[in-house]
């Protein structure tokens, strides 16, 4: 990058169109064939979109709603809005109507670009509440022949109008781009609003370009890289990877054919740069393991042999640490026979850098991918910080931290353990919410992330919980329920866990077993059972769960801050925690207060030393009827371990 003028996304686009006009910028699989648009072509398409919008009356400062799956024209539309000095507002297409209406109203949306008929129908329904929504423009024309509502037209028509407009006003487009300032808001991403109404996070060109630049130089991303864009466009991670970094580095984004074909498309594209939340990695691993279980022994035996080798030395090899020559040789052989083919099946043959974030990733899962030679790393960030706070550098990977602060980002831990962030990547403001902005950014310009964490001895940030959930045990030691629960949930047998300990002398936990995994485990041992409640109370299952808990305890014992949080007593609940019973949110997060009130009698039993407790609970069935289930729940103790200072993590 040269000169100081490449400070907005439209200017970056024009720069790529000049420097590498023939380089692929965007691909999409359409009718079974990958279609490619070069940077030169994309610049033309963006110009047509921008001029078309301008002809319809889109003005500087207007917000453009974008609703749909990852489609090239929707990405280009974001840039088109920015060319005109407007703001792109990507929205979650599967959000409930009420939330979408809120965003449309809050952002004063007059123009919306949507993917298909489904979205058009949704937005037309919302017009009653949002009369300012004048223009609904759609990408896919299927099923749209009979729509004659005012303001509804196809992107094809819009872009044709745009080309005509450009022919009549040849200087318009470049003049508009020249008017753009780096301090202009480029994009507004609404936070999902788990607490209260969604808030529009306003990010400037400067913030996202800085975040993208630091990421690109950190991982040496260049025009030759490829990424598969399949995560929601309204999510900050996708905006950073598929839009901001692609615009900065000039690499190619690939849009899958449909949401269901992502795995196939991944194999066909073979991206060099990849992002997925932990559950995607988990699903992939499960599929591999199931297929290996069904394979013939002649395939299974070398697989398991070389996976053992990988477990022993794979992660060290990728980190460049010293490894026995014999192991190195075996690993090289395994790479030819097992790891290479496996990476190919997963569509990860060409991956140089892969990231995961968004939730805690299990250590076994994380090690598996690294050990077969995939450079999987973790990052930490939030919508308000352009998703870029901490990144794990190559060669310094630990499964339980998110790495040191990214270049240009300052991170500080507040007295209450909350992580505070300062830097260029911070949000400008919450849209029309000065109160919320003032609350989120302190007097020194630090953004309160709401997450609690600490720096370990290597200066890597470790996130443990939401700050508001963090408390203290009676002895004063820090108590982070989520952290403990996540550790438990890394076991395939534990589906849900709720830890208690706030103001108590020791930690106790409710466990929900994973009925499919534990059921399978029981079947393989000829253990007959009638249902969840029956299975959950079996001795064998209690033993199984106790082993999982003791493993978590042993792990916690090495933690310098949280070693006092080992689980002393536990019980397996007689029913699965369920959103229908208000015990979980719809996104399957435990509603801690509700659960502790509902099961207060069990918590009392924990701390009064009882061996069992009778409980009766009302449950709501899917058809809305209610019923009662009752059980005598056993309470068991788990072994705890003395604190051992952590050895250097591998």
């Amino acid at each position: 990058m040269s000169g100081d003028t490449l400070d907005t996304f439209p200017r970056l686009l024009l720069q790529h169109a000049r420097v590498r006009p023939q380089h692929p910028a965007t691909r999409e699989k359409h009718l079974g064939i990958w279609q490619t648009w070069t940077w030169g072509e994309v610049a033309g398409e963006v110009r047509a979109l921008a001029c078309g919008l301008a002809a319809l009356g889109f003005r500087r400062g207007d917000n453009l709603a974008i609703v749909g799956d990852n489609r090239p024209r929707l990405y280009w539309a974001m840039c088109a809005a920015q060319c005109l000095g407007g703001v792109a507002v990507p929205m979650y297409q599967d959000a409930i109507a009420q939330e979408m209406t809120f965003v449309l109203e809050d952002a004063g949306i007059r123009f919306a670009i949507v993917e298909d008929q489904e979205q058009v129908d949704k937005l037309l329904d919302m017009r009653a509440q949002c009369p300012q929504l004048a223009h609904v423009l759609y990408d896919d024309t299927r099923g749209m022949r009979h729509y004659d509502q005012p303001g509804v037209q196809s992107l094809d028509a819009l872009m044709q109008a745009g080309r005509d407009y450009h022919a009549a006003h040849p200087d318009f487009f470049t003049t508009q781009i020249a008017l753009g300032k780096t301090s202009d808001v480029a994009v507004m991403l609404y936070t999902s609003g788990t607490t209260g109404k969604p808030k529009g996070v306003c990010q400037t060109h400067d913030a996202f370009i800085s975040a993208a630049q630091s990421g690109c130089s950190f991982d040496k991303l260049g025009p030759a890289d490829d990424i598969l864009s399949y995560l929601p466009m309204a999510w900050v991670g996708d905006h950073l990877f598929s839009y901001a970094q692609a615009m900065v580095a000039g690499f190619t984004i690939n849009c899958p054919e449909s949401g269901d074909t992502v795995m196939t498309d991944l194999r066909e594209i073979g991206p060099s740069y990849y992002f997925a939340p932990p559950r995607v990695f988990e699903t992939l691993l499960t599929q591999v393991m199931i297929r290996m279980e069904d394979a013939a022994w002649i395939k299974r035996a070398p697989f398991h042999f070389f996976m053992d080798v990988a477990r022993r030395c794979g992660a060290d090899i990728i980190d460049g640490k010293p490894v026995l020559a014999s192991d190195r040789l075996l690993y090289a052989l395994g790479n030819v026979l097992v790891y290479g083919p496996l990476r190919n099946v997963l569509g990860m043959s060409r991956i140089r850098v892969a990231y995961t974030a968004g939730a805690a990733i299990g250590p076994d899962l994380f090690r598996f991918y690294r050990s077969i030679g995939i450079n999987l790393k973790q990052l930490y960030g939030a919508t308000e910080t352009c998703a870029a706070v901490c990144l794990q550098p190559d060669g310094q990977i630990k499964f339980d931290t998110v790495g040191p602060p990214a270049p240009g980002v300052e991170v500080k831990i507040a007295a209450n353990g909350e992580v505070l962030v300062r830097g260029k990547v911070l949000l400008k403001e919450y849209y029309k919410r000065p109160d919320a902005t003032a609350e989120a950014i302190d007097e020194n310009g630090y953004f309160r992330t709401g997450d609690a964490g600490y720096f370990d001895e290597d200066g890597h940030l470790k996130i443990i919980d939401r700050a508001k959930d963090v408390g203290a045990l009676a002895g004063g030691a820090m108590f982070a329920p989520n952290y403990i629960e996540n550790k438990l949930k890394f076991s395939p047998y534990i589906r849900e866990a709720v830890a208690f300990g706030q103001g108590r002398s020791e930690v106790c936990a409710f466990i929900n077993i994973d009925i499919s995994a534990v059921g399978d485990w029981a079947e393989r041992r000829n253990l007959a059972y009638s249902g969840y409640t029956d299975l959950a109370q079996r001795d064998e299952i209690y033993k199984l769960v106790r082993e999982c808990i003791e493993k978590a305890n042993a792990d916690l014992a090495t933690d310098p801050v949280l070693h006092a949080s080992q689980i002393h007593r536990f019980l397996i609940l007689h029913k699965e925690l369920d959103p229908d019973d208000d015990e979980l949110t719809r996104t399957r997060k435990v509603r801690r207060n509700f659960v502790s009130e509902k099961y207060a009698v069990l918590i009392d039993a924990f701390y009064s030393g009882k061996q069992s407790q009778f409980i009766q609970t009302q449950v709501r069935f899917e058809d809305g009827r209610t019923g009662m289930i009752s059980a005598d729940l056993r309470i068991e103790a788990a072994r705890t371990f003395p604190h051992i200072p952590a050895k250097k993590a591998a």
Partner: protein
Amino acid sequence: MSAARNIGEVVLNIENVVLSFGGVKALQNVSFDVREHEVRAIIGPNGAGKSSMLNVINGVYHPQQGTVTYKGVARRDVNPHEAAANGIARTFQNIALFRGMTVLDNIMTGRNLKIKCNFLQQALYWGAAQREELAHRARVEEVIDFLEIQHIRKVPVGRLPYGLQKRVELGRALAAEPEVLLLDEPMAGMNVEEKQDMCRFILDVNDQFGTTIVLIEHDMGVVMDLSDRVVVLDYGRKIADGTPEDVRANTEVIDAYLGVAH
């Protein structure tokens, strides 16, 4: 939605068809017509002769009496091959796909009649044969896109759930670019969601390609929602013919469905 669809002239006319198997009279003097671009439903209790009727239309069965007039040509013995070549495609009550072949290949078989190259050319796969296959593949991809089955393109049909197999079968019929589409219980055995999907696809086919559709269906809700006109068979006789509203109000139909004291 159907406002823009122009229902045209009679494209298919069935007159006084009598079909019997030994002593069993499957169809007794049945007459009705199908207009261009309409959705025509055939309903009736089990054994009423609905599937036999479809089999007569595309020539699988040859009736003893009566004529089937398609696009102005009246004949008694229709040849199934000719029927297909003239633009009549169908799906079956029991799925009749090649279970070991992929979705793509199955749908490709729908293009069979349109392939002009001979066996030798195809075996060499060079020049015209290659160009032709690419053109057919492009058409098949449009069908795949239309039915939203991209994710199972390369999956053997036998591994698919029932609802998707039905969709693939519709895809194969569509690949033949039919003018008249005969659907034999397209929603049998489906759950509510699969039925909704299938209804939408049938309406889209009718709306977007203007395909005339004759369907047999048991789900009355589906029939009433989809069809323009309904013909009701009972024990091989036609007992009613008209709009869904007319048919619903017809006492003979109600008796046939609910039973009546004799």
